[in-house]
């Protein structure tokens, strides 16, 4: 995971997730001082083997670098793919992944002077997960912020001209979509600017094939460190009311998507349980029929031996499959429920902040959120 090769490049490979590995890595010419890895709780279904995401084991990795005395937290991730824009059966999983990604970045970057996030988010810039991530963390999109851009139209990273892409995958976006990002933010000690951004443009010059099905992104970021205006925690910096309100809306939308996912998971689990019970009933019925000739000696076996064994195999296969499905979807339900619960808590906390704002705004005095020592009678919405 941490190697130094001959030109002094350090590697943090995240290939330790799932069955075949996540395929993620951070290469750095600066020493990697510390690392941490978070596996998303939800990542598709193992029985959707043709999609393969579950076997990849999606995660977010963090490497902590020291850039001339500044602490830089560099993150890399890959979220679940979207196989159909119209009927996206993985939307709730991707929303939960975006939620966990923002939690991971927020909670682990408190001490960082610079935060850089790179990854294939498999979301369009205005998609729910992207909004959730950007508004919660305050990360800025290098494509939007860059002073100079050289690359595909609209910063697209999945383009129709790429030989590895089937045109059908992109419908209804004929030309392509932007789903890979480099995001960044500074801190009270550091300002960060994107001077230049570029993407590859399909095939390698002089070769018929491109490097990958996605276009590669490159950015040049410029850091300016300064003495913070006020020392102390960054946590007290107040977000404007509109931003808070927008965040509450995004969160409500995310909770709705997760609830839809919960409903789907519950339905599949119910179907699995019902099919399992039917398989069990069939097995008992078969055993009962088979038992008749044993008790009534001399009676003929009512149906051919071969169908008897085939039916038994079928029953066992049904029982095993439905048992595994039931276990898997119970775990999915638990994870979705957990994410929804955390979102509910976060929404409550934001609404409390908003209430604080609406009280203090007339006097234009920014105020920290109340300490929460009041009894629940004063706390109606929780």
């Amino acid at each position: 995971m941490a190697n130094t090769d001959c030109v002094g490049v350090r590697v943090f490979s995240l290939n330790c997730c799932g069955v075949i590995g996540s395929g993620l890595a951070i290469f750095s010419k600066h020493r990697i001082h510390d690392t941490f890895l978070y596996r998303y709780s939800l990542n598709g279904y193992p029985y959707m083997a043709h999609h393969g995401d579950w076997f990849g084991g999606k995660a977010v990795g963090m490497a902590i670098l020291n850039l001339a005395g500044l602490t830089a937290n560099v993150y890399v991730t890959h979220l679940h793919a979207e196989y159909s824009r119209e009927k996206d059966s993985y939307l709730s999983h991707r929303v939960v992944q975006a939620w966990e990604l923002q939690q991971f970045i927020r909670h682990t970057s408190t001490g960082a002077d610079v935060v850089i996030v790179g990854g294939d988010l498999n979301m369009h810039p205005q998609d729910l997960g992207c909004r959730l991530l950007m508004s919660y963390t305050g990360l800025r999109d290098s494509y939007v912020e860059t002073a100079k851009f050289d690359g595909c139209e609209n910063g697209m990273t999945l383009i129709a001209d790429n030989l590895f892409i089937s045109k059908n995958e992109l419908i209804p976006f004929e030309k392509g979509i932007r789903i890979d990002y480099i995001l960044f933010k500074g801190s009270s000690k550091t300002d960060i600017y994107c001077d230049c951004m570029s993407t590859t443009k399909g095939s390698i010059p002089g070769h018929p094939l491109p490097y990958s099905d996605h276009e590669a992104l490159t950015v040049e970021l410029r850091l300016e460190s300064h003495i913070p205006a006020q020392t102390g925690s960054d946590k007290t910096q107040d977000t404007p009311t509109e931003k808070l309100a927008e965040l509450v809306d995004t969160l409500t939308e995310a909770r709705t998507e997760v609830k839809v996912g919960l409903h789907c998971a519950e339905r599949i689990r119910y179907t699995a349980a019902r099919t399992g019970v039917m398989g069990l009933a069939l097995l008992f019925l078969e055993l009962a029929i088979a038992a008749v000739p044993c008790f009534a000696l001399g009676a003929e076996q009512p149906f051919p031996r071969i169908s008897f064994y085939l039916l038994a195999i079928l029953c066992f296969a049904i029982l095993l499959t439905t048992f595994l499905l039931y276990i898997f979807h119970t775990m999915e339900l638990k994870s979705l429920q957990g994410a929804e619960d955390q979102m509910r808590l976060a929404a409550g906390s934001l609404q409390e902040k908003l209430r604080g704002f609406s009280v203090t705004q007339p006097h234009s005095v920014p105020q920290r959120s109340p300490d929460g020592e009041q009894p629940c009678a004063l706390d109606p919405e929780e």
Copy 2:
């Protein structure tokens, strides 16, 4: 996940892991401002259903509270049980859990003024995982630090007198063991002291049964906030050389345990693969034997139909089981390898710090670790 009941208690329940839930919760009379949850990458085996740990889905949860202007990060966790002290087949899993726990606490508590960790660590105070956790995070053990103690002998939390405990479980510790902890630390802004600690002592007074198989812990912590001597990052605080050297030793020990685990997982996976190939060979052999009468018309079926079907069922069962085992242990291998890689990186980083010490110590000038810009020729041990 966040509820306020009538006496103003907030709950952060972590029951969203695994199949039956982790059974963890944080109850707080202070408002819970934020939460985060980390599921351990390794947690036993689903086919060890009688142990049940895998189904519980072990995790560590964090709740962020605001205590009179101070940020308190409260963690709760439960690590994999130790079913045999002599032949502990889960040791590598528990060591990886302890490793992930210290990573989670370290990376998420940078901005905290107070850190409190409570949990059933399933490790004795001098066990490898405990040493790894305590030395890496700088957490202090409330049983060791408390000014006043009222509870079971030696702070034991799993005692022989508890009716839910079978005496055999405790061998060779007849009286009991201490495996539940409340750990804490302050920050540059806060000092924290443990004034008083107590444990329950078996059965509820006046009742024959105890509340649980473990004794409950209670501590009274006192916080003293002060103006930090030097503002700026806490990360530069230098650890004494002996502590660093001890940490490197602990890390080496942990890597050894993880490597033992890797070896075991590889062996099981190899056995699964070999058995699977044998099952496949048996199936082909059977099909070949069955095909003979088809081609040589009129020849007798060489063995009875019933054995034929039973053998086919057996082959399919072997193939399915070994396939699932192979997938599961590949994931286990990946996780163990990932943890070992991260430990190797951390050991390298510590050794570099130590080298920095041995250079600076003669002049008694503390120095930050070198920036790591040198090429690998100057970096022999990586």
